[in-house]
Symmetry: C2
Subunit: 126 residues, 2 copies
């Protein structure tokens, strides 16, 4: 299939696909006229990339997953490099959550000072 069809099937823009190629995440055979030609496996790779981006991974984070799939594994997350990225990402997310909770408290405290009784209820509090 050509880039337009892959883009439609994967739910991304052709621009994004060319960018992934430029970043070395996907590759494409070329037809005699120079058009990119993709197979079903490429759809799989792009889907993996999209689902990772959707949960906050960068394209660089996605690389080990793509490599894992291309190495023949049935899951992009089943290689040690991918597991390492998962763990690093979890730690990053936890850091961000902690930072946000701290900020939340600081802002709420400021608001309370400026306007007692104005603070909304905290996430998860009834």
């Amino acid at each position: 299939m050509r880039i337009g069809e892959l883009a439609r099937r994967a739910g991304v823009s052709t621009r994004a696909l060319r960018y992934y190629e430029q970043q070395g995440l996907i590759t494409a055979r070329r037809s005699s006229n120079g058009y990119r030609e993709y197979g079903e496996a490429d759809l799989r790779l792009v889907s993996e990339i999209r689902s990772l981006l959707a949960v906050g991974f960068t394209l660089d984070d996605a690389r080990p997953f793509v490599d894992c799939l291309r190495a023949g594994h049935d899951s992009g997350g089943s290689c040690p490099e991918s597991v390492a990225v998962y763990q690093r990402k979890l730690a990053e997310i936890d850091d961000e959550i902690r930072t946000l909770l701290t900020r939340r408290a600081e802002v709420a405290a400021q608001l309370t000072t400026a306007c007692p009784g104005c603070v909304l209820r905290k996430v998860g509090e009834s």
Copy 2:
């Protein structure tokens, strides 16, 4: 005082101060030679801006606070516009926290699938 001294006292770069001026957050008298001249009140404004930026506000968010101080109030957060920003920000932070918690769960689930027993403990869990 001139821009260098204000920058040192406020703990920011001169570039940042010129940027704040360009964004309409602070203003400066000019000496006969064209140099910016600031007073103590300006230090107060810059401090307010920095503390707001530190908790994740944008310069645009900070504008009502600066206006409030310039209007003569002793606290940047004591004007209704500032309170509105506080509340909007709290809502935004809560949204981000919810998003991150969701992502955290998704990533942890993926990791568990790929590597059972690899998941670190969640924030706040013992």
